[in-house]
């Protein structure tokens, strides 16, 4: 299938997801994302932001709905028992970075980076190592190749985690609150790396509580609450002068304008 310029890169249609019979997290969520877009998802805790990203990565089962990537549905529910189907071939194009780094603690930095390319893609060790070293240099971690995760700061760990995801040449990156666990003085170095990726037109979807970062990186902002998209528009609108009352309340609260 060929993709015309305006065709959506990601299309999420009436996504429903619940944990058990009583907790509905996503209640019919629709999102479209065009190629080259950088979508920042904001919203109150429990509003379904992280769940959305986890579902897109295929880490959670869904109740109903579908997600397409590049025009191809890769996550949907099927049959009478609504089994979640995940097309792993398509999912391969998506990379994800988590709040808690999730580096493999028993492997050195370079081993963390080359594990997937060597074991999954069949790349030879020398070429993977060369690519990994280049990525580390680019992220200011050239000297840390043989260090273990426990010997790194939170900011360094998160940069390694981003590099590790990039080793698989993703066509879309998902960032799930990647700076939330960091000490304040380490946030900038991680955001800098993500901005660097944005400069190379990497499509990305970012869940963050950092409104400064959201404003700087987003080409579009989605306000998600109660399991649905409440407002969706350019950052100036959603963060600056939101149209929806619920968005306005949230924005005011996080910017401490009114009490």
């Amino acid at each position: 299938m060929t993709m015309s310029f305006s065709a959506p890169l990601v299309k999420i249609q009436s996504l429903h997801k619940s944990y058990g019979p009583h907790i509905q997290v996503l209640k019919g969520l629709d999102v479209e994302m065009k190629p080259g877009e950088r979508v920042v998802v904001i919203g109150p805790s429990g509003g379904g932001k992280s769940t959305l990203l986890r579902v897109m990565m295929g880490l959670e089962k869904i109740d109903s709905g579908s997600i397409s990537f590049g025009g191809k549905p890769y996550i949907f529910s099927e049959g009478a028992d609504r089994k979640t189907v995940i097309d792993t071939e398509v999912r391969r194009s998506i990379g994800m970075v988590f709040q808690h780094y999730t580096l493999f603690p028993h492997l050195s930095v370079i081993q963390n980076l080359i594990l997937a390319p060597c074991k999954v893609r069949g790349e030879n060790k020398a070429s993977a190592t060369k690519r990994a070293q280049a990525l580390l240099e680019r992220f200011g971690l050239g000297a840390k190749a043989s260090a273990y995760p426990a010997q790194l700061s939170g900011g360094q760990k998160q940069r390694v985690a981003i590099a590790r995801a990039l080793m698989l040449d993703p066509k879309l990156m998902l960032f799930d609150e990647v700076t939330s666990a960091l000490d304040p003085e380490l946030v900038a170095e991680v955001e800098q790396v993500i901005l660097q990726l944005a400069g190379q037109d990497m499509p990305m979807m970012i869940v963050t509580h950092d409104m400064w970062f959201a404003k700087n990186i987003a080409s579009r902002v989605i306000f998600c609450a109660g399991g649905v998209v409440v407002e969706d528009g350019p950052p100036e609108q959603v963060l600056g002068s939101p149209k929806e009352e619920r968005t306005r309340e949230f924005i005011d609260r996080v910017f401490h304008i009114r009490h």
Binding site: R92, L115, A116, V120, Y148, A150
Partner: protein
């Protein structure tokens, strides 16, 4: 009462043979018991309810009964039930392997459990197939985390192995007891036997602390 430790020297060959039996028995049972323990540890976290039930009955039974009773049962009851003669060494190996399997399975189970679900999230996000998840991510971490406790398990086994003397296996304890009876010099002989056990067990105990500090602190796991 006068003590004459030189008397022990006359029996150094017999003591060496006994020590060799103790070490041989311990090493065989460490290898077999750890393998059994790892399988049982996996079985206890298995999806199959039958496997989980069977493995926990085994573990709880062997942790809940005295090793001496287990030994006697395997030496005297198992041959009657199976209808075959078992050599002393075979019976000793079976008994201590089952004991080691039970205690090390708990060690492995704890180490498997301590690997957080977020490690599996990372595996999925990196598109690692199940086989690679197990061999490259879960297994090495589980084994590394288990090492200090496993070493303690091994030291326990080495000491507990003295119980086989009660069923007539010629280990260090058995030889020592015989010499002490025949020479009527229990203080000298049994003190030396205790020292031999200590000289081997103590460095191993210290090694546990060392491994914990050096290796695991570096990995922070």
């Amino acid at each position: 009462m006068t003590l004459d430790f030189s008397i022990v020297l006359r029996f150094q060959e017999a003591l060496a043979l006994g020590l060799w039996m103790t070490i041989k028995l311990t090493l065989i049972c460490v290898v077999l018991g750890c393998s059994l323990g790892f399988s049982i540890g996996l079985a206890r976290t298995s999806r199959s309810a039958l496997l989980r039930a069977a493995s926990s009955i085994y573990v709880e039974f062997f942790r809940g009964t005295p090793v001496l009773v287990q030994l006697f049962w395997i030496f005297f009851c198992l041959p009657l039930i199976l209808g075959v003669e078992l050599s002393n060494l075979t019976s000793g190996v079976i008994a201590l392997t089952l004991y080691m399997g039970a205690i090390s399975s708990e060690t492995f189970r704890a180490s498997l459990k301590s690997i957080g679900p977020e490690q599996l999230d990372a595996c999925v996000a990196l598109d690692l197939p199940r086989r690679v998840q197990v061999t490259s991510v879960i297994l090495p971490q589980a084994v590394l985390r288990a090492v200090p406790t496993l070493l303690s398990n091994c030291v326990s086994l080495f000491k507990e192995s003295a119980l086989v003397s009660a069923v007539g296996m010629a280990d260090l304890m058995f030889v020592g007891q015989n010499i002490s009876n025949n020479t009527a010099r229990p203080v000298e002989v049994l003190t030396v036997v205790a020292l031999i056990y200590f000289v081997i067990a103590f460095p191993l105990t210290r090694a546990v602390t060392l491994v914990e500090r050096r290796v695991l602190a570096k990995l922070a796991i």
